[in-house]
């Protein structure tokens, strides 16, 4: 450690700090591959380490209580937990520190699971050695930690909803009902999205257009919801709780822009329907239609008259999984809604004209949950289901007689190849992500390999994204039904309210700090900052750089470009990182091979 480094805030010499080190078994996830007891021992005598212990689950409530007791009793001023990724538990243990009256920013998490046990499952000694190094390194960093305070700021009680499909509209109402103003931006001239074009939908059999109309009616009666159609989100600045959104209105007289301040943004931009290639399952032949086209046809039909191109339809064949569950390279995902949507359409057809014969060529009928009842209903009404193998899709061809022939090797009837003559072939097309590059770039939305927007955690945090205050809902995230989209929209409302309802929010203080004495005002950092958080100000008669802590993300991009070494990242100061790295090199201690 070089001598010119400052004593950390609190004025305690690094070696006099009182640090607690907790090494987690993670129920075996770590301890199966890392000798946690050896880690504990190695850390116990480190300068400044007062507590060194192992725990079955450091994150369990019982251990949290033990930690709090230890922090209080032993007057700890630093905490290191060697467990999993900070993404999982940094907040957990910071809260532990806070509840114990310790500054949460003197807590450091060491990821010895992903970087230790999981990465080195075949080398227990090596993994243990590495973990000792990682934990010592973190202790070194913690010895130099400062007590930091979060930045508290007021939030705007208003949210922006991008997309006025059923999810977006319902979300807007949900926001308003909670007392948060809603601003809705819709690219199309009309609100309502896909659902607004539909007649009867499942499971309630309410007409989609009626549902949209009723939402729209509610919106019109509220002063706290503003809907812009023919409009796009074209600019965004600020940070969660205080975004400034630039909306461009496409008007006859030219584009107009306006700016609204919002606390959060709910993205509900929906999906596109899979468009089959020419010739894909006979697409292009007259009588071969996609599911949305067929739904339109059914919706427009009157009882007893399912007519296509002027001719009555006596038989329909459905080919499932068109554009979904494809081999690698295509759309590998399942579109979830289409099985039930096709089944529902067939139920409607049966109601229109029970004499229409219907054949469903499927792989797995994914009529999950209560949708199973519709599946039963259509079978009871005479729909015939034939299963084709994943690698042997059916073919569609024009028959010499003039109709269409669906040829399938049916696994349900002894794998015989049959050709079914039908009047109409419905390609049960799935969903594809809607291309929306400008929005993705603007909001820095992460995309999954399937092209849909990605949430922060697919299990427990399904509407949040890695961008604070930006949420996703509905089919822009993954294929789903209208009802599920609405639920997601409302969940995004709840998440917005959890952020905005209090009227203030707190930000991490882990931001860049300029040493005005050292800053030469070169301006290099201003151009390096991707968040436009650094401005030039006058200080002591000269121009120096200044960081806006509310918008600084703590990315550290400014630090290496500073020729004067005038910038430090709070929580990750140069001194801390240097000590951490030095310790890592010094920590290389040989670990005995475990006795078999």
């Amino acid at each position: 450690m070089s001598e010119n480094e400052a004593t950390p805030v609190g004025k305690v010499a690094p070696e006099d700090r009182r640090i607690g080190v907790y090494i987690c078994h993670c129920g075996g996830n770590i301890s199966d591959y890392v000798d946690v007891e050896a880690v504990r021992e190695a850390l116990a005598d480190e300068p400044g380490v007062v507590v060194s212990t192992t725990e079955l689950f450091a994150c369990s409530d019982g251990t949290q209580h033990d930690m709090i007791d230890a922090i209080k009793e032993k007057q700890l001023d630093g905490l290191v937990v060697a467990s999993c990724s900070p993404k999982l538990h940094q907040v957990t243990f910071r809260n532990v520190a806070a509840r114990a009256g310790m500054n949460p920013y003197t807590y450091s998490q060491v990821n010895v699971r992903e970087q230790g046990s999981w990465a080195h499952q075949h080398d227990k000694a090596g993994a243990t050695e590495k973990v000792i190094g990682l934990v010592r390194s973190s202790v070194a960093k913690t010895r130099l930690s400062d007590a930091l305070e979060p930045l508290r700021f007021d939030t705007v009680p208003r949210a922006l909803v991008v997309g006025a499909g059923i999810a977006g509209l319902r979300a807007a109402i949900g926001l308003a009902e909670i007392g948060l103003e809603a601003v809705v931006v819709e690219k199309a001239p009309e609100v309502g999205g896909w659902v607004g074009r539909h007649g009867e939908t499942f499971p309630s059999n309410a007409a989609g257009r009626d549902q949209i109309a009723s939402l729209n009616e509610q919106i019109k009666q509220r002063r706290d919801i503003t809907v812009y159609t023919n409009a796009e989100l074209t600019g965004k600045s600020g940070t969660f709780g205080n975004y400034s959104a630039e909306i461009t209105l496409h008007r006859d007289g030219g584009d107009k822009t306006l700016t609204v301040d919002v606390g959060s943004i709910i993205v509900a931009t929906g999906f596109d329907s899979y468009a089959p290639d020419d010739g894909e399952f006979g697409y292009g032949i007259e009588g071969v239609v996609t599911l949305p086209q067929f739904k339109e046809l059914v919706d427009a039909s009157e009882a007893g008259k399912l007519i296509y191109n002027g001719r009555p339809v006596r038989s329909v064949g459905y080919v499932y999984c068109v554009g979904s569950r494809q081999e690698a390279g295509g759309n590998e995902y399942c579109s979830k809604f289409c099985c039930t949507a096709a089944i529902h359409a067939s139920v409607l057809v049966n109601k229109l004209d029970p004499s229409v014969r219907q054949f469903h060529l499927y792989r797995d009928v994914r009529a999950y949950g209560r949708n199973e009842l519709l599946y039963n209903e259509t079978r009871d009404a005479g729909s015939v289901f034939l299963k084709f193998a994943d690698d042997a899709p059916p073919t569609v061809a024009k028959l010499p007689s003039g109709g269409l022939g669906l040829t399938i090797t049916d696994l349900l009837t002894d794998s015989r190849e049959v050709t079914i003559p039908v009047d109409l072939v419905v390609l049960v097309t799935g969903m594809v992500p809607r291309q929306n590059k400008s929005l993705v770039d603007l909001l820095k939305l992460p995309l999954g390999t399937d092209g849909f927007f990605n949430e922060i955690h697919p299990k427990l945090r399904p509407v949040e994204t890695v961008v604070d205050g930006v949420m996703i809902a509905g089919c822009c995230q993954s294929p789903r039904t209208a009802g599920e989209s609405v639920a997601a929209g409302l969940a995004a409302v709840a998440q917005s309210a959890a952020l905005l309802k209090k009227g203030y929010a707190e930000l991490e203080p882990l931001v860049a700090r300029i040493d005005p004495e050292k800053c030469t005002g070169s301006g290099d950092c201003l151009t390096a900052c991707p968040y436009d958080s650094i401005t030039s100000i006058e200080w002591d008669g000269r121009q120096i750089a200044s960081v806006d802590p509310a918008t600084c993300k703590g990315c550290g991009g400014c630090i290496p470009v500073c020729g004067a070494d005038a910038i430090d990242l709070l929580g990750y100061t140069d001194a801390q990182m240097r000590a951490a790295i030095e310790e890592m090199f010094e920590a290389s201690v040989p670990v005995k091979e475990p006795v078999a």
Binding site: T92, P462, A488
Partner: protein, 921 residues
Amino acid sequence: MDYDVLVLGSGIGGMESSIKLADMGYQVLLVEKEASVGGRMILLSKVFPTLDCASCISGPKMSTTINHPNIKTLAYSEIDHISRNTHGGFQVTVREKAKFVDWAACTGCDVCQKECTVAVPDQFNAELAPRRAAYIAFPQAVPKKAILDRSGTSPCIAACPAGIKAHGYVSLTRTGKYEEAFQLNLDATPLVGTLGRACYAPCENGCTRSQVEGTLPIRMIKRFVADEHYATHEGPGVEVSPPTGKSVAVVGSGPAGLTAAWQLAREGHRVTIHEAQASPGGYARHGIPSFRLPKDVVEADIANLTAIGVEIICNSPVADLQTLKDSGYDAVVIATGAHREAALDVTGVNAAGVVSGLSYLKDSAAEVGPDLTGKRVVVVGGDVVAMNAARTSLRQGAASATVVAQAGKPGALPCNEIEYTEAAAEGVEFVFATSVAELRTAASGEVTAVRCVPFSAPSTSADASEDAEAGDTVQAAAAAPATASSTASELVADLVITCLGLDVDESLFVDLAGVGNKSRILANRRSLQTKAKWLFAAGDVASGLSTITRAVGSGRRAAHMVDRFLKGEPLDGFELDSKLSTTKHRDVLARHSSITHRDPITGQVRLNQQPRDFTEIEVGLTEEAARAGAGSCLDCGICSECQECAKQCPAFAIDMTQRDKVSEVEVGAVVVSTGHKLFAADLKPEYGFGKFPNVITAMQMDRLLAPTRPFNTVLRPGDGKVPDRIAYISCTGSRDKTVGNPLCSKFCCMYSIKQNQLIMGALPLADVTMHYMDMRAAGKRYEEFYTQARDMGAQYIKGRVAKITEEENGDLLVRYEDIENGGGIVEASYDLVVLAVGIQPNRDVENLFTDAPLGLDEYYYVAEPSAELSPGQTNIPGVFVAGTAAGAKDIVDTILHAGAAVAQVAAHLEHQHFAEQEALV
């Protein structure tokens, strides 16, 4: 309004709802019926499709929930009912169930769990492994607190008039803790060996095993632990409280007096027993012959008292209680029993060779007693004293012993049935329905014969004696002789023993306390205190003639009251033995899914015709027999009250007196997130669950795979073998009209695929096959997850399974349809079969709402009248539903559904708030 929102159930949906609402600033009351928040998710291994460790992502959520400043969590609590209140909200009756552990003191250290002697199936391990009756839900429980699982007071404990925890010493014996079992008896009485022989064991009548193949040998187990203790220990080994400086005199050293003295001495009082006889023990020593209760057993029991400093002064009849009190005692317990014998009121009663039963037995007890070789003995009366006298006379050499009883038949005798059968087996003869009219006397003044006349009892008294306990009713055999009858007969007699009933001699207390019914002392029934405040009565003197077990109970009660009296504490307003309602046999039998037959273990009694020696006739249980007998216990009340946890708890947190706490709260809105139940797999008998040990449910497999798993690997329960061939059967209880559930459960395909992958990771050599109907991998990244499982080598066979049979080695023969390969019926053998059980509604919510019932759909899930636009809304304004309470959902769907419900809860509360503001304006 006490809280803005009540959230019912703390599974993932309930936690999500609570946290989000609390983050918005609302005050939330979260009520969870289990001991920990977290629901089912925390029990899972990993979650699909991310394969995140369930503990790792659920644990923090649990912690956040109970540590949130805006959430009040009540675990182990239930809602009795919910009704509308007058201001738009709800009135909620919350029941915090008795935990029998002071949670404020409990540190979750799990000592109680380790000490507990009762094992029950662990619901948190899908019943794969046992947990204890004292338990912490699971190691990651939040809050991490212990609970004693008590379904009621075990019937054996409830039946014991002495207040002995029979279930407790049985469960201690079962676990080999014989000394602890003895000590538990000592908590009630020093007379453990005595009761182990002479108690009529009302506990055994209460035993639920008696409804199956026969009662546990509870009394014999007590005898075993007593014999074990006396053979291996010096002294009782009990702790005595520091001296209080108070002195108590106990008058009489029968079971009541000894027990009272024991309890008082343990409390630190100085106790002196005044006994009129030459040796202590009262009826136990003088009334029960040594072939039934050896004197050394009584002496060993009495030595317990002297070991802790009780002074027993024999040959010390008390003439006046006030004088005794004034001689330096702070209180006096009168326990003089009921030993006044009724006299035979016929001619010749004063002849030589006519003795009363008790005096005969007492003389016999002193040494071997009189030599009756060749003598013909007639015993008048049919009570226990009569039986004991008749049997004793045989041992003293009597040529015959004949009991003359008014009772018309054996069952009508005023003694316990066993007394009669044993006496008869030893050769005692009986003359029923007979009264004694006269004792004939020789000129020398000695009795020569008994003249008998027929007797017919009034029907009522005969009925009463049918089911009377021994000694409860004693009829004088020589009440008014029946009218002279021509059928009079004579029995030749060399010795006539009259056993005509016992009652209380009131002469000692008549002035001081007063005399009640049947010459009993006048004392408060509960406190046993007499008019003279310092004088308490114990045993038969207070109750009239009873059993030694009741006398022990009475002595214990009297001592407790005297102790309170000496400490200046009130003698009412408390329960001596804090009991719950007695567990019912049928509930116990219903709780045990199957009860293995066990041959009842009974004591061996050596009964010889014309016995000639006084050796104990009953043979004690061997250690094996005692443990096997105890091992049959069905743990009726679950907790056995063995007290081990209470003794060992470092925080002194065990509190058996805790009871449910019911309170009323007002809330503005309600979120029902009560989750679901899993299909009971035994309802598909063709799959053999519950019958074939190697057929398990998927929840059990998740436990086997979890990091907190009960065993260290995936094994099959039947024999612990690590399985090589594992089959999954999808749609068990779902999409199945034969079990009344046509619905798809949605998550089973996915959790099966998850488990398939985890098994292939844990057991790289294992083959995993799933028999499915449709693979419903519908959801974000689910199809990819399915593909991944197939790429790893899992086999998926389309077609239903018709039947599973078990092979001799425990393997399972699965008969299924292989649709994709010709549709034939195929049989395959597997090591382990996992049933992918589906979801069932949790119908606990049905009757919660007392005004307007909560709307349910036709499958008993909470109905959502406008599921598409307002998911989570129910038929009751202000009541919302989150998660699987409304139907099948996986975790992410539950999170979203909870989010939707929460958004509408907030809307409802805002609207309500707005309406209130309007009303104020």
